[in-house]
């Protein structure tokens, strides 16, 4: 591998990814496992965005669930309306909402084009609004992290409180069709899987381009010294905003794809806990590398399923221990293992002082 040009390596990587996702996985996995993989890949899409915003931009966003949710609800609203048929209200609304007619803010989602656009644009718009406020006022670091976490909490409370129009805690469930395709049919479930896999690959390509562009370098510069960037004539708020908005769009798209894959969107998927789990996946995989977040998200979600099946009583310990060990002792995430193995082989004694931990981290990841 080492004597290939970077460009060749990238193409090889994408090729390999495509083979795994489009050929190997469908051939080897049962329908049930493949549908789980589809779900994990949705999380991976969120993770790619977090990798950009957090890994590169230093924006620890603990509220990605909000954007995931916006995308998911936008999609689910459309599908529910389509299931109900022209002029009808979704089942839950009649049951709990006792509304005489569809609320006005639901109506446009009947239009598939509007709904599809909304799954991406709505989260981006919200991220833009919030980001403009927050970044311009230079709220950052832990402030930003905790604020974004509170945003997730607030969003959940808001959704739950509007049971009649949002399905409350239940969320939107029992989604049967996807643009005319019956989701009960395993063939159509496969189609959904392929769409998700394709979107993931495309977004990876896009993100790679962003990370390696001048913008990507600038983003790292802003992370390291926001004020210095200002003295060079840039407005760092805008630089961060781009990463935040892109990450939000990805999360929204992931949420939208999650709905046909899993058949439900609910506040439980977008609150504080799932939002932290998104980030943990990224940390476990390796925040600053391109593929780290993807691997991490899939690994964490897969481990959650597998551990909880295998060790129903004790899997929480294992899950917790995994988070702790990887983040504390392998700051570069699983993606950095490769570099470490290589270093071990070179037998270089490592006398890093703790204060340089972060610096070393980035070198490793860049390697």
């Amino acid at each position: 591998m080492t004597n290939l040009s970077p460009r060749t390596r990238v193409w090889l990587g994408f090729g390999l990814g495509a083979v795994v996702l489009f050929a190997a996985a469908p051939a080897l996995l049962t329908d049930f496992r493949l549908s789980l993989l589809a779900k994990y890949l949705c999380f991976a899409i969120v993770a790619v965005g977090i990798g950009l915003a957090w890994g590169r931009g230093g924006l620890l966003t603990l509220g990605q669930g909000v954007f995931f949710g916006l995308g998911g609800y936008a999609m689910a609203m459309h599908l529910k309306l389509a299931d109900a048929g022209e002029g009808n209200m979704p089942d839950f609304m009649e049951l709990y909402g006792q509304l005489d007619e569809l609320p006005a803010w639901w109506a446009p989602f009947a239009n598939p084009v509007f709904a599809l656009a909304a799954t991406v644009l709505l989260p981006m718009l919200v991220a833009f609004g919030l980001g403009s406020l927050v970044f311009r006022r230079r709220v950052r670091g832990a402030y930003f992290a905790i604020l974004s976490q509170a945003l997730a909490a607030a969003m959940v409370i808001l959704l739950i409180g509007q049971q009649g129009t949002t399905g409350g805690t239940n969320g939107l469930t029992d989604i049967e069709g996807f643009f005319g395709y019956d989701l009960d049919d395993p063939v159509n479930q496969r189609m959904v899987y392929f769409i998700i896999a394709g979107v993931l690959l495309a977004l990876l390509a896009l993100t790679r381009q962003l990370m390696h562009s001048r913008y990507g370098e600038l983003l790292v510069a802003v992370r390291d010294s926001e004020n210095r960037v200002r003295f060079l004539g840039y407005n760092p708020a805008n630089v961060k905003l781009v990463a935040y908005v892109v990450a939000a769009g990805m999360a929204g798209l992931a949420g939208a794809l999650f709905v046909p894959a899993v058949g439900i969107i609910s506040p439980a998927l977008i609150g504080i806990v799932p939002s932290i789990e998104f980030v943990i996946g990224v940390a476990v995989g390796g925040r600053a590398a391109l593929l780290g977040p993807v691997l991490g998200a899939v690994a964490v979600a897969w481990a959650k399923t597998a551990l909880s099946e295998r060790f129903p009583g004790t899997w929480t310990y294992l899950q917790g221990a995994m988070f702790v060990l990887v983040v504390a002792f392998l700051p570069g995430g699983l993606a950095s293992l490769w570099g470490m193995v290589r270093r071990r082989r070179e037998r270089q004694p490592d006398a890093t002082v703790p204060a340089d931990g972060d610096r070393v981290l980035v070198q490793e990841v860049a390697a």
Binding site: Q348, D350, A351, V353, D356, Q363
Partner: protein
């Protein structure tokens, strides 16, 4: 007082020092001179214990301190003024000093005499150190190191950013402290100052000591020659 023997050190995978020996005799001032990036600061970081050498050892007063944590070395009588006007930005000037005086016998007195050396700090005692000007912070940093009444003082470019008349005072202070038995390891770019103060000088080039000799203004041509090659 201080013997640095065969020290190899660096950061991560890069090595900076390649077998450095430097000795500071009791009650003398030794200067380390060299270009930017030669490894002078790295040497002082090894001496105080912020950086563990990959090889070699640090002896202080005859004791091997290579494995001791920085605060233990300070308790043994070392003091260090890092490069770059460092301070505790959210503590006031007074607190920056008080912090070091806390729990030390004669701390109060030591604080008073340190302030005497830098009268400019008097008016700034209640200002937070992070708001001070660069030179004020540097003065604070030296004062803070002196409060521990060290036996050995490690100074990394102490005159950087300090106004000329205060530089002169620092020079006087260093000389008089050395006269009272304090040993000093001084890293300086200000050759005039360094050589006037130093009993011995060492030139560091790319992590190796390339020449040494007796201090004094007379050494200046030799040092300049050593530095330009």
């Amino acid at each position: 007082m201080l013997r640095i023997e065969g020290v190899h050190a660096g950061y991560g995978r890069s090595s900076v020092l390649h077998g450095v020996d430097v000795t500071v005799e009791d009650g003398t001032v030794a200067a380390v001179l060299g270009h930017n990036g030669a490894g002078k600061s790295t040497l002082l970081r090894v001496a105080i214990g912020l950086l563990k050498p990959k090889q070699g050892m640090v002896l202080f007063g005859g004791e091997d301190v290579t494995r001791l944590a920085p605060h233990v070395r300070v308790a043994r009588g070392m003091a260090y003024v890092p490069q770059g006007q460092q301070c505790f930005p959210h503590l006031t000037t007074a607190e920056n000093l008080q912090l070091v005086a806390d729990g030390r016998r004669g701390g109060r007195q030591a604080m008073a005499s340190a302030l005497e050396l830098f009268p400019a700090l008097h008016g700034l005692l209640r200002r937070r150190a992070g708001l001070l000007s660069g030179g004020q912070r540097q003065q604070l940093a030296i004062a803070r190191a002196l409060i521990t009444r060290p036996k050995l003082l490690l100074l990394d470019e102490p005159t950087e950013g300090i106004q000329p008349n205060v530089v002169a005072e620092i020079e006087q202070a260093v000389l008089s402290l050395a006269g009272d038995g304090l040993s000093v390891l001084l890293v300086e770019q200000h050759l005039g100052f360094a050589l006037r103060a130093a009993h011995r000088y060492h030139v560091l080039e790319s992590g190796r000591v390339t020449s040494s000799g007796a201090g004094g203004t007379g050494a200046e041509p030799a040092v300049r020659a050593a530095l330009t090659v």
